[in-house]
Amino acid sequence: MADTAASAAPTGHAGSRDLQHHFDSMEQQRDASSLGMWVFLVTEILFFGGLFLAYTVYRSRYPLAFAEASRHLDITLGTFNTAVLIISSLTMALAVYSAALGRRKAIILFLLATMALGGTFLGVKAVEYTHKFHDHLVPGAGFRFPGPDARPAEIFFSLYFTMTGLHAAHMIIGIGLLTVLVLQARKGRYGPGYYTPVEVSGLYWHFVDIVWIFLFPLLYLIGRHLH
C-alpha cells in the first residue's frame, strides 16, 4: 500500500480525465476506493452480525423448535437459490475481468447476466414468501404452527423474514448498482486505466453472495437430519 502518496504524475493513459482533483495519482485513488469499500463491507459484516447473534442465542435455547420450524422451509428452492447466487458471483467476476481488459460488449453481457441471476434469486424468494403466507407461517396474528412449540417457531420465522428480507434488500441495491454500471459501460467509460467502479461493485456483490452462503445452511439445513 503506498504509505506515502505516490509521485504526482498520473499513471495510465485514460487516467487524467478520471483522476479526481484531490488525489495525486490513479493508483492512490484506486487504493482509496477499494479500501473504502472494504471498510464498508466490514460495517456490513457487523450489520448482519447482530442478526446472526440473535439466531445463535435463540437456536441454542430452542434447538428442537428451530429444527422443527426449519423443516417447513423448501430445501430444493434454497439449494437452487444458492447455486443461482454462485453463478452470479462467477458472472460478476468475469465482468470485472472484461472491464480490466476493456472488452466493452463482454462487460455489458456479464453485468446483465449477473442482474438476471439476481432477479431470479429474488423471484424464488418471492415464491417462498408467498408459500409461507399461505401456510400461515408469517409471524403476527395469523401465525399458525402445528405441533407443541409454536412460539419459539414464531421467533424462528421472525428471524427468517428479517434476515432474508435484509439480504434481499441488499440484493436489490446491488442490482441498482449494476444498472448504473451497465449504462456507464455502454458509454465506454471503463477500460484498463479506469475500471474501479466495476471492481468495487463486484466486491459488494460477492459480499451479498457470501451472506447467503451462511444464511442457507443456518436457516435451511439445521433440521433435516432429525426426522
Binding site: T4, G36, F40, T43, V57, R61, G140, T162
Partner: protein, 547 residues
Amino acid sequence: MSAVTAPPAVDLPAEPRVNYLNSTYGLKSWLLTRDHKRIALLYLASVTVFFFLGGLFAVLIRLELLTPAGDLVQSETYNKLFTMHGVVMVFFFLIPAIPAVLGNFLIPMMIGAKDLAFPRLNLLSWYIYVGGGLFTLWSIVHGGVDTGWTFYTPYSTTYSNSHVIVTAVGIFITGFSSILTGLNFIVTIHTMRAPGLTWFRLPLFVWSHYATSLIMVLGTPVIAVTILMVGVERLFHLGIFDPRLGGDPILFQHLFWFYSHPAVYIMVLPAMGVVSELVTTFSRKNIFGYKFVAFSSMAIAVLSFLVWGHHMFVSGQSVYAGLIFSILSFLVAIPSAVKVFNWTATMYKGSISYRTPMLYAFGFIGLFTIGGLTGMFLAAIGLDVHVHDTYFIVAHFHYIMVGGTIMAYMGGIHYWWPKISGKLYPEGWARFSALVIFVGFNLTFFPQFILGYLGMPRRYHAYPEEFQVLNVMSSAGASILGVGYVVPLIYLIWSMRYGKAASANPWGSTGLEWDTPSPPPTENFAVTPVVTGDPYQYSPEEVEVVG
C-alpha cells in the same frame, strides 16, 4: 511538522485574499459544496442547533425537579423530556460534534492533503445527518418518544404508545452519517498523507480521530440492526425480543450496549485529541510520551468493545459474565489514566499560557479525571448493584460528556476559531464564560453524586422530600451552566463580523494547519508540504532550520 522559528510578526493580509469562505457565493455553493471546510461549517451550524435544543430539554427537566412532587409537567411529558434530551444530546450532538466539525475541518490540513478521500460521501453524510435529524424533530413536534434514549424492550416494542418508530428511523439514518464520516477518515489517513508524514509524525488529534473512526465503523452497524429489529418487531410483530414468545429482553440489551458503550468513547476520544493539541501548544512543549498517548487512543478503541456488560450487572445477566465484564471494564480505564498523566507531565518545565483554550484544557483534565475515577465505582460490580440506575450514574456520565467532551469541544472551537473564521474571539469574554461554565457545571452535577448514593433513581418525575435540597442545588447550577453556554454563542457570532483579523499562526503552534493562511484557501496548501520532523517541535535544539 515543517520547521518553525519563533512565532512570526502578525502579517495582516494587505488585499482581501481568496479563501474558502469567499471563493464562491450563494446558497447553492454552500449546499452543494465538496470542500471539507465548508461541510465542517454546515455541521457546526446544525450541531449547534441540536445542542441548544437538547439544552432546552435539560433546563425543563431541572425546572421540574426543583420540587419533589411532579407539578411542572405531567409524568408522560417528563418521560418524553428526558428521552428527547438523551436522544438529541447523544446522537445529534456528542457523537458528531468534534469529529464532524473539527475533524472534518482539520484532518486534511493536518496531513497536508487537499481534501478527504471521498468529498461527495462527506457531503452525503451531512445530508444523511440532517435527514435523520428531521425525522427526530418531526417526532418531537408530534409528541416525542417516552422510552428513554436506551429504548429497552419490551417497553419500546410493545408497551410504549409514543413515536418510537419515527425516532428509531431518525437514529437509524443518522447512524449512517457517523459510519460514512468514520470510513472517510480511515481511508484519508491511510492513503492521503503528505510526503514524509509517517504514522509517528501524525498529530495526536489525527491519532484520536483514527481510533474514533474505528469505533464508528465497527460499532454503529450493530445499533443500526438493533433498531431495525425493534422497528420490525413493533411494525410487523416479528417478535425477536418478545418475552411472550420466549424472546429475551437481555439479548436486546447486549446488542444495544455493544454499540452504546463504545459510543461514549466516540464522544470522549476526539475530545482527548483536542486536549493533546491544546496542552502542547499552550505549554509550548513536545507532548510527554507521544507513542504512549497515541497507542492509548488505539487501546481505548479496542478495549471499549469488551466492556459493555457493566451496564447489565443487575439485569439478570449471569454472575460469571458480570465478573468478566467487571475486570475488562477496569482494563479500559488504564489508557485514559495514561493520557491524563502524560498531559500533566507535558506541562512540566513548559511555558504555560492561560489563554481560553488552555482554561478549557485545565477544566477537561480536572473534570475528566473525576468522571473517569467515578467510573471505577461502577466497574466494581458489588458497588454498581447499589448505584446502578441512580443519579450517581447520571453524574458520572455527565462529568465525562459535559465536563469532558463539551469542555474540549469549546476549547477546540476557540483554539481553531482564527483558522476557521480568520478572526480572533474576544479573550476577556471567553475567559469569563469558561469560568462560569466550570462553576455552573460542578454545582449542577456534584450534588448528583450524593443523590445517587442516597438511592434516588434515574428518570423519576417525583421524588421523596429528603432529596429536594440537593436537587435545588443541581437546578441552580444548571441555570448558571446555561448562561455559560449562551455567552460564547454570542461573542463568536459577533467576532465573525467585528473580530480582529487573525494571522496564519496566532498561537505560535507547530501544526501543519497553521502553516497556511487563516482562513485557508480552498485547496488548503499552495504546494503540498513536505514533513521532515516530529509533530510538536517547540524547543530550540529540536528545531532545525529547513530551507
